[in-house]
């Protein structure tokens, strides 16, 4: 693979392959959780072919091949690498924030959605699936009278 360095960035971190029209970014696996890697990679999936690799246990690799390239390919690929790097930092930090603030985020989200949805109507309740067993009932306490005694009644009849 004939790659060239991107100005200002060490070649072992980021490089472009102009023949194959793709950009490669290698990052330290200990700095970026997988969720961040996926989150950042997914942002490009509509305009690039995105390939992930792990060339060694300490390194995560993202290869971006734009689906179309107009104008200066080298500049476009460089910009793409920069955007990917920014997206990775953003995704990694967001992952950390979400973990630290999870309770607050969940509470606000629940309040927002519950406030908007309001209580279910009778029509909504009609569509609810109550068939799944919500709890174990070894003594048959939740059984209806008919369920509990129907067989005995048939035997007696």
């Amino acid at each position: 693979m004939g790659t060239t360095a991107i100005e200002g960035i060490p070649e072992d971190v980021a490089r472009v392959d102009l023949d194959a029209s793709r950009a490669i970014l290698d990052v330290d696996a200990s700095l970026y959780p997988l969720e961040a890697l996926y989150g950042a990679a997914y942002v490009f999936i509509d305009r690039c072919y995105v390939f992930l690799d792990r060339p060694d246990p300490k390194t995560l690799r993202v290869v971006l091949t734009p689906k179309s390239l107009d104008g200066d390919a080298s500049a476009a690929l460089r910009a793409m690498v920069g955007e990917l790097a920014n997206e990775l930092v953003s995704a990694a930090w967001r992952h950390q924030i979400t973990q630290e603030n999870r309770a607050q985020i969940e509470a606000v989200t629940m309040q927002a959605i519950a406030g908007a949805m309001g209580p279910p109507s009778l029509d909504d309740l009609e569509d609810f699936d109550f068939t799944e067993e919500a709890f174990e009932d070894p003594l048959g306490i939740a059984m209806s009278w008919e369920e509990k005694y129907a067989k005995k009644k048939e035997e007696g009849a």
């Binding site: 930092v89 953003s90 924030i97 606000v108 989200t109 927002a112 959605i113 908007a116 309001g118 909504d124």
Partner: protein, 499 residues
């Protein structure tokens, strides 16, 4: 002063939670969890940051009173303030944008609306779809519902507009909401009969003015007439009609919006003067956005946000000067932030709150009955991106609309406390982001705020406002006080007749 100068002396035990931002030389803004704020000199900030406050000092007293100190921190006050700011979480969409047609008689360079030609009658909303849209809107858990007529040009499908007004009022007799109607129109198709209906049925009227005639006409083209002449003809007639009905002109008048294009940037004075000359007391200095045609014409209409902010500062300074001279005008963008800053209240502007209003504060109904999280989501669908479509008025229940996974994703993504940068930004208590904008410009609903035009604008405007507050000029503070006084326009409220 640099924070590095204080390294080694920083205290972390005396302060309650706070964020800080240097907004100018010798001006350090601090805000806390519940949105209280102070602007401190470098010396005072250093005292605060290093735990060097003198007992009995005015600075310490003010910091304590505003809940910036751990000693005596008033949890109840903080909780109450936060609850007040987040009151909108308790209920669902209050704004329901109904696109009654895509047909439009004007062609605007930045058109938001994915317009259609005047013979495209297949883009008119039917009465059946209109009724189903109203049924869905009145299912909202919000005690108040505003139906906003948009297009295209909504006056093109006036029959359905009237039908919605009649049907909604009739249905509301059973439902019992506080109902409002708003029309967003270029006014070029207005006539006495239409105006009479709108006035009799208390429909608020909102229009667009891009600046002086030559600029407005260049950006908003009518086939044969001047669009500026059309709008400037009707504004005084409508305002006069309100006055004749005994309504306070300061409160009841045609609202007008500006879309700031590149051509508008150097003409801030003319734009403000045009609004003043037309009797328009409120000006919303909106920057251009990437939706609709603006995405295609961005080479001619777009600009760096630093240039927009210079325009904003110049125009708002001029508006404040006009206020000082007795011409009362409001800049709406600033007023939204100031209401949160000065009053501790949220005016519920859906794009500037956390979480944002998409799906939980507003819904948009397309002419074909598709329901979207917001009007920007609808515009993206018109360009082939259905990401923000939630369902259809004929087949999707209200709870499935607002409980849609897309809505949930947008709520999480627009919660500033889950956003890098926003989580530590001093403007967190007052700000908001637009997830559709993030999606369009940066590829995900989360986006990256440092690279976001919306973030740049919000920070720039708030920097300007806090600078003005710190300057403390009496005429500015007095104007800001007026801008944040929320007076209800009760004339436009429709209550069920039984109330």
């Amino acid at each position: 002063m640099q924070l590095l100068d204080l390294r080694g002396k920083l205290d972390t035990r005396s302060q309650a939670f706070f964020r800080h931002r240097r907004i100018a030389a010798d001006r350090n803004l601090i805000t806390n969890l519940e949105g209280r704020w102070m602007v401190l000199s470098d010396a005072d900030f250093a005292r605060f940051a290093t735990g060097g406050l003198e007992d009995g000092s005015a600075l310490k007293a003010e910091l304590s009173e505003k809940n910036f100190l751990r000693e005596g921190w008033d949890e109840g006050a903080a909780r109450e303030a936060i609850a007040r700011r987040k009151g909108f979480l308790g209920y669902g969409p209050n704004l329901h944008v109904m696109v009654v047609t895509l047909r439009c008689n004007e062609t605007c360079v930045y058109c938001h609306a994915s317009r259609a030609d005047m013979d495209a009658v297949d883009t008119d909303m039917s009465k059946e779809t209109a009724e189903q849209s109203v049924d869905l809107a009145l299912s909202s858990t919000s005690p108040g519902v505003t139906i906003e007529f948009q297009g295209g040009e909504p006056l093109v499908n006036f029959e359905v507009l009237k039908h919605i007004v009649h049907y909604a009022k009739e249905k509301n007799e059973e439902v019992g909401k506080t109902l409002e109607f708003t029309l967003v129109s270029n006014l070029a198709l207005m006539d006495e009969e239409k105006l009479s209906f709108l006035l009799d049925h208390k429909v608020q009227i909102c229009t667009s003015i891009d600046g002086p005639k030559e600029l407005h006409d260049k950006q908003r083209k009518l086939p044969t007439l001047s669009s500026f002449d059309a709008v400037s003809h009707w504004i005084p007639i409508i305002n006069q009609a309100y006055a004749e009905r005994g309504l306070d002109p300061a409160l009841y008048h045609v609202e007008a919006l500006l879309t700031t294009t590149r051509a508008a940037l150097p003409r801030w004075k003319e734009i403000v003067d045009t609004y003043a000359d037309l009797g328009c007391r409120a000006l919303f200095l909106r920057p251009i956005d990437p939706f609709g045609f603006a995405g295609k014409t961005k080479r001619t209409v777009e600009y760096p946000r630093a240039e927009y902010l210079e325009f904003y500062r110049n125009a708002t300074d001029y508006i404040l000067e006009k206020n000082r001279g007795g011409v009362q005008m409001i800049e709406r963008f600033g007023a939204i932030f100031l209401t949160k800053i000065l009053r501790g209240e949220d005016p519920n502007f859906l794009d500037i709150r956390s979480p944002a209003g998409a799906g939980i504060g507003q819904l948009a109904y397309s002419y074909d009955g598709s329901v979207y999280t917001c009007d920007e989501g609808r515009m993206l669908a018109a360009q082939g991106d259905d990401t923000f479509r939630l369902g259809h008025v004929a087949s999707t229940r209200y709870r499935d609309i607002v409980g849609h996974p897309t809505v949930r994703a947008m709520v999480i993504a627009s919660n500033l406390d889950s956003q890098p940068d926003c989580v530590s930004c001093t403007y967190n208590p007052y700000c908001g982001i637009q997830t559709t904008h993030n999606h369009k410009t940066q590829g995900s609903v989360f986006g990256r705020m440092r690279e976001s035009n919306i973030c740049a604008v919000h920070k720039g405007i708030q920097d300007y406002l806090f600078g003005k507050l710190a300057d403390g000029e009496p005429h500015v503070l007095e104007a800001f006080e007026r801008w944040t006084t929320i007076r209800s326009r009760e004339h436009f409220l429709h209550e069920p007749s039984g109330t």
